[in-house]
């Protein structure tokens, strides 16, 4: 029972390592899931080699969306922005290690959408961003 709320999810929700904001930053983007009001802002600092040196998120929402943001940022430290462009839904699901129904999937994937919209410099976080990087 309660496998959706694996220890790691509760842990990252209660004690996030990457909560906060970065000012100045190189990339910042925020958006929300209007369905449930989850709101997330992600800030990144990028080194001269194009790799992420620091990352932070802020906002509010359910344990799944907040833990997903924390795990995601943890995983992108040291990654090149071009690698981030290729992150997909599957990467997030691997990080979380749980199966989700369609409603909660939206919570889990909100941070990735925001991260990729920021990296691509787009005005809007759309569902297309959850597939392989193109455009």
């Amino acid at each position: 029972m309660d496998d959706l709320y694996r220890e790691v999810i509760i842990e990252h929700y209660k004690n996030p390592g990457y909560r906060g904001s970065l000012d100045p930053n190189d990339i910042t983007f925020e958006d929300e899931n209007p369905l449930c009001g989850d709101h997330i802002k992600i800030d990144l600092r990028i080194g001269d080699n194009g790799k992420v040196t620091e990352a932070a998120f802020d906002g509010h929402g359910c344990a799944i969306s907040q833990a997903s943001a924390d795990l995601l940022l943890e995983s992108v430290i040291g990654k090149h922005v071009d690698e981030i462009k290729h992150l997909t839904k599957t990467d997030v699901m691997d990080l979380l290690g749980i199966e989700l129904g369609p409603v909660r999937l939206k919570c889990a994937l909100l941070p990735l959408k925001i991260l990729k919209a920021g990296v691509y410099g787009l005005g809007e976080a759309t569902d297309d961003l959850l597939e392989e990087g193109q455009s």
Binding site: L35, H60, G61, C62, I64, R104, C107
Partner: protein, 409 residues
């Protein structure tokens, strides 16, 4: 009065016996979203397709006659259920939402004009808000709102002041789907009438749960859905006062709603068919009649009394949980809905963990975003009760909520 035996009632609802996971029985506390269906309703629709399926009002053969008779009998039952003795005042629609849209599009387009005042409330479901916003945009109407007090009641003093603006229309929910507040509809309608307004009551949450009479309320329009009162989805009703319905233009054009059609014009059918264009959800309308029969056999006063006991007990037990706050707890009159927040825990997480314990509750804004803005919370969890819920289910809810709190502490 019949004696109320909940165990016997539960046997009429096959779905209440399922397990949501192996060994985890369903505890259904989301009847405010949609109610479960008794066998008699399921059978009525099944039987219709097996023995009586034909198109209504469009044939002289055996099945067409039979289907028409069943459909119209159902209309008469639903009309009688809400205290109307004129079945033609009862128009079948898809749901409460369509009923309100019908009033906005037909009556509103014809009889409202620029700068007319329409009074709504802060506790409306989006379906009694957005249709008026759309019409206001089109016509340049002025929308005013009766505020909700901290206790969860409508502020009647502000309502009195708003009535001085001579509104053309006053529309409000009889019972809030979030706060559970039962508004003093009869008194509000009387005041609105004295001010010269037409009245619309969104009865989606009241008609299923206690006895409502359009005669007693003296209301002009009333909207409700079958699926929240043990009936099927896809059918609802609009009650309208005959004099008003007569003057209204048709809402949709097509078959059934006409008397005569020429190449360039038509004359509309009489009531109620003027508003029922196209082949209708016949089986569902018949199921609606069966739902009303089921509720009437038990008695709405008996149901209301039982639900009242359940919700009182639920609120007392839920309040023992640390960090739990009930929205609209102190409302003067409330029905079987308990929306709540748990400090530091998102409603989605609450609902998800309850689901793992077999308990179905709703999480989110329950189609009432402005009301959540009013209470400055993004979302809430909601447990709602109906005639088939039990005290044991409430205990299971409370124990599971304690588990939720523990997990996040």
């Amino acid at each position: 009065m019949t004696t109320f035996n909940v165990d016997k009632i539960r046997q009429d609802f096959p779905i209440l016996g399922i397990d949501v996971n192996p060994g985890v029985p369903l505890v259904y506390l989301d009847s405010t979203a949609t109610a479960q269906k008794p066998i008699s309703v399921i059978d009525a629709m099944d039987d219709y397709y097996r023995t009586s399926n034909g198109n209504i009002h469009r044939g002289v053969h055996y099945l067409a006659e039979r289907a028409t008779a069943l459909y119209e009998a159902s209309r008469a039952k639903v009309a009688a259920f809400i205290g109307s003795d004129k079945p033609k005042e009862l128009i079948f629609t898809r749901n409460a939402t369509e009923s309100i849209n019908l009033v906005a599009n037909s009556w509103g387009r014809a009889f409202l004009a620029k700068d007319d005042v329409v009074i709504l409330t802060e506790m409306e479901h989006h379906s009694n808000l957005v249709p008026w916003q759309m019409l206001a945009e089109e016509k340049g109407l002025r929308l005013e709102f009766i505020p909700v007090t901290d206790d969860g009641d409508l502020d009647q003093m502000v309502f009195d002041q708003l009535l001085e603006q001579k509104p053309k229309l006053v529309a409000f929910a009889h019972m809030s789907n979030v706060l559970g507040t039962i508004n003093p509809a009869k008194a509000m309608i009387a005041k609105a009438k004295r001010a010269g307004a037409v009245t619309v009551v969104d009865a989606a949450q009241s008609v299923p749960h206690f006895s409502v009479s359009v005669k007693d309320l003296d209301v002009d329009f009333m909207a409700f859905s079958a699926h929240k009162m043990l009936g099927p989805t896809g059918v609802g009703a609009l009650y309208g006062r005959e004099e008003l319905l007569d003057k209204m233009p048709p809402y949709m054009g097509g078959g059934d709603m006409i008397r005569k059609v020429y190449l360039r014009s038509f004359t509309p059918n009489e009531l109620p068919w003027k508003f029922e264009a196209g082949t209708f959800c016949i089986a569902e309308a018949i199921g609606f009649g069966a739902a009303v029969d089921y509720l009437s056999a038990i008695g709405m006063d008996t149901i209301a009394e039982y639900e009242h006991k359940l919700v009182q007990s639920a609120m007392i037990k839920m309040k023992t949980i640390p960090g739990l706050e009930i929205m609209g707890e102190k409302a003067a009159h409330r029905g079987g809905v308990v929306s709540f927040t748990l400090q530091g825990i998102h409603p989605h997480d609450v609902a998800q963990i309850l689901d793992q314990n077999g308990i179905a509750v709703r999480a989110g804004h329950h189609c009432a975003m402005p009301l959540h803005d009013r209470f400055k919370i993004p979302a809430s969890s909601r447990a709602s009760f109906y005639l088939y819920n039990t005290e044991e289910e409430i205990n299971h809810l409370v124990i599971s909520l304690q588990k939720v709190v523990k997990m996040f502490s």
